[in-house]
């Protein structure tokens, strides 16, 4: 298991872009295939956007702690936030079979997050949501 890289973000949209840039650097340094990086970035975008849009009911600044780590062929990204309790794994899946005109627009982000990574782990501890996204990387990670 590699030593994790830790980042502290604030609950602002520009911070998602900052994390995406860091992810790109992390992935390129380790030779992640482009598709795997894309999938990780998509899952991260959806999760962080949900935190910012729905996680907080006050106007205060909040910290979101992110840790990036590799373990054998797995890339793990852990996101901790002190927002409202929310387990995306319990969110109902969208109905993808309905005609385009009748499809509800909500729920797509969580669905995309789930489809983009190989495993998601969630727990709530000490007043924080802790979500881990795990992506198996198709090439050996140095």
């Amino acid at each position: 298991m590699s030593k994790p890289i830790e980042l502290i973000l604030l609950n602002r949209p520009s911070e998602i872009a900052r994390l995406q840039d860091q992810l790109e650097v992390f992935a390129r340094e380790r030779g992640f295939p482009s598709k795997d990086l894309h999938d990780i970035q998509l899952a991260v975008e959806e999760h962080l956007t949900n935190i910012l849009n729905h996680g907080f009911t006050d106007p205060r600044e909040h910290e979101i702690h992110v840790s990036l780590q590799t373990e054998e062929s797995d890339f793990r990204i852990e996101v901790q936030d002190d927002g409202l309790p929310f387990n995306p794994l319990e969110h109902p899946l969208p109905d993808l079979s309905a005609p385009l005109e009748k499809r509800p627009i909500g729920g797509l982000g969580i669905h995309m997050m789930r489809k983009s990574v190989d495993r998601i782990e969630y727990r709530r501890a000490d007043g924080k949501n802790i979500l881990v996204l795990v992506k198996q990387i198709k090439v050996p990670i140095p």
Partner: protein, 99 residues
């Protein structure tokens, strides 16, 4: 993100390069609304150079595809990159893409 526009009569083409994240989705919405206000009959959202399409972007595309369609008008994605096509297929919206 700098969204390029190509306008031919009442056909608008919006070209989005790079990451279509939440901020870019908001910009796309502004451009689509501007096109609709200027009586565009067809809006093509060209995603050939887009590397990434998040759910906020898909929501904008879907919302305005529906709005335009109710008026007999057209909004479609054209030339999606492989990653964008994958995102649209993943969410069950391949019909948003021009055939």
């Amino acid at each position: 993100m700098e969204i390029q526009k190509r306008i031919t009569g009442d056909i608008w083409e919006l070209l989005l390069p790079g990451r279509v994240d939440g901020a870019a989705a908001n910009q796309l919405e502004v451009e689509v609304l501007a096109a609709m206000k200027q009586a565009a009959k067809t809006i093509y959202v060209n995603l050939a150079e887009a590397t990434f399409l998040c759910s906020a972007g898909i929501r904008v595309l879907l919302q305005y595809h529906r709005q335009m369609k109710t008026k007999g008008l057209t909004l479609l994605v054209t030339r999606p990159s492989a990653d964008v096509a994958s995102a649209l297929a993943m969410t069950g919206f391949p019909e948003l893409v021009e055939k």
